[in-house]
């Protein structure tokens, strides 16, 4: 048998699958050098992020306005595939940006709105009042969230929004046990072997 070449994948073949060892091309970027304190890559990246942080409040205000426009489009045109998607992506981006941009309290209502949109089988059944409550909560947190007394109010408000949404989704999906299990299953925590 010939030795596999370093720049080619080697393949072990089994009855129903192949096990492939690709060439390790990225080895060229590895070294065993010990990082000095002045050359801490993570610290340098955090500093780069800190230099951007002056723009974060403006960015989040823009995201809140985008969500508001998406909500108004739904009110004007009703829930269509297009208006639903615009609303979902606006909420989804806030969910993703929230903590990085310094608004951790926004993650729960934004995620709750995503779940409401995503897991309601017939989008015409999504209660507009519940959408309004989510969007208004997000905008209020962006506007007032830095106030010292806001943290507890935000926590209570967003927890209640999530509960009401989950109750609605449980009713809407009561005849879909597998979907319901996915909806109500706990999130995978960082460090889970599946990640």
């Amino acid at each position: 048998m010939s030795r596999p070449r370093a720049d080619k994948p080697s393949v072990a073949t089994y009855a129903d699958h192949e096990l492939i060892s690709p060439p390790h091309k990225l080895r060229r970027a590895m070294s065993n050098a010990v990082a000095s304190g002045a050359d801490d890559q993570v610290a340098r990246a955090e500093q780069a992020l800190a230099r951007l942080s002056g723009e974060f409040s403006t960015w989040m205000e823009e995201e809140g306005e985008r969500l508001d426009r998406a909500r108004n489009a739904v009110k004007t045109a009703g829930f269509t595939t297009a208006t639903r998607d615009v609303l979902f992506f606006a909420a989804h981006d806030i969910r993703g940006d929230a903590e990085t941009l310094g608004y951790p309290g926004l993650a729960v209502p934004a995620e709750s709105l995503c779940r409401l949109i995503e897991h309601t089988r017939d989008m015409r059944r999504i209660p507009m009042t519940l959408v309004d409550q989510h969007v208004d909560a997000v905008r209020a947190i962006i506007r007032e969230g830095s106030r010292p007394d806001a943290e507890q109010t935000v926590a209570v408000l967003t927890r209640r929004l999530r509960e009401v949404t989950d109750e609605f989704l449980a009713r809407e999906n009561r005849d879909r046990p597998e979907e319901l299990e996915d909806i109500l299953s706990p999130a995978v925590a960082p460090g889970d072997p599946s990640l």
């Binding site: 080619k8 890559q41 992020l49 960015w59 995978v188 960082p190 599946s194």
Partner: protein, 177 residues
């Protein structure tokens, strides 16, 4: 301790949100990377992938029209794509188990649940370089070996069948190169 020379790596960031793209670029440049390409959707990402042949792709899951899962499936096409083994780090705002499994089944190498942080991103990049995974090809899947851990006490059925036929046969698509 393994240290990564980021200046030797070429990144592609596929993300529809301009704010998150700026954050990811800032982090990668902060790590020391000098080459970071960006695309704002899956289709543009595929073009950029073919044009720049990145070493590592960072892709958002949820994007309009052509999402991160579809993007990953298109990269993991060993018969049509010249770089099917490129590590893919997928960002997602959601961490439901089903989503994680869907990403895994699309051939994603690492999944990173937002919020994005310098430490979490650095760890994922170090992991794909320092601990490269073997790949599996079946009738319905091509991508990193989804079995990350072995369970010594496992007594269930073995779903992968067959004996080892040829350890050193080179991959069909590259044997003639």
């Amino acid at each position: 301790m393994i240290r990564i020379d980021f200046s030797a790596l070429r990144f592609l960031v596929v993300e529809d949100n301009p704010h998150m793209r700026r954050i990811l670029r800032a982090l990668l440049l902060g790590f020391g990377s000098r080459e970071v390409h960006e695309a704002e959707d899956g289709a543009a990402g595929l073009d950029a992938f073919n044009k720049f042949t990145p070493d590592i792709v960072i892709v958002d899951w949820a994007m309009p029209i052509f999402d991160g899962l579809e993007f990953a499936r298109m990269i993991r096409q060993p018969d049509t794509n010249a770089s099917p083994f490129t590590p893919i780090i997928m960002l997602t705002g959601h961490s439901e188990r089903k989503r994680v499994m869907d990403a895994r089944d699309a051939g994603v190498t690492e999944i990173m649940v937002k919020p994005v942080s310098a430490n979490a991103l650095h760890q994922r990049i170090v992991n794909v370089i320092a601990n490269p995974r073997r790949y599996i090809r079946t009738k319905s899947y091509f991508g990193p070996d989804r079995r990350r851990n072995t369970t010594p006490g496992y007594s269930g059925p073995e779903r992968r069948k067959g004996g080892r036929v040829d350890l050193d046969r080179l991959h069909r698509s590259s044997a003639d190169n």
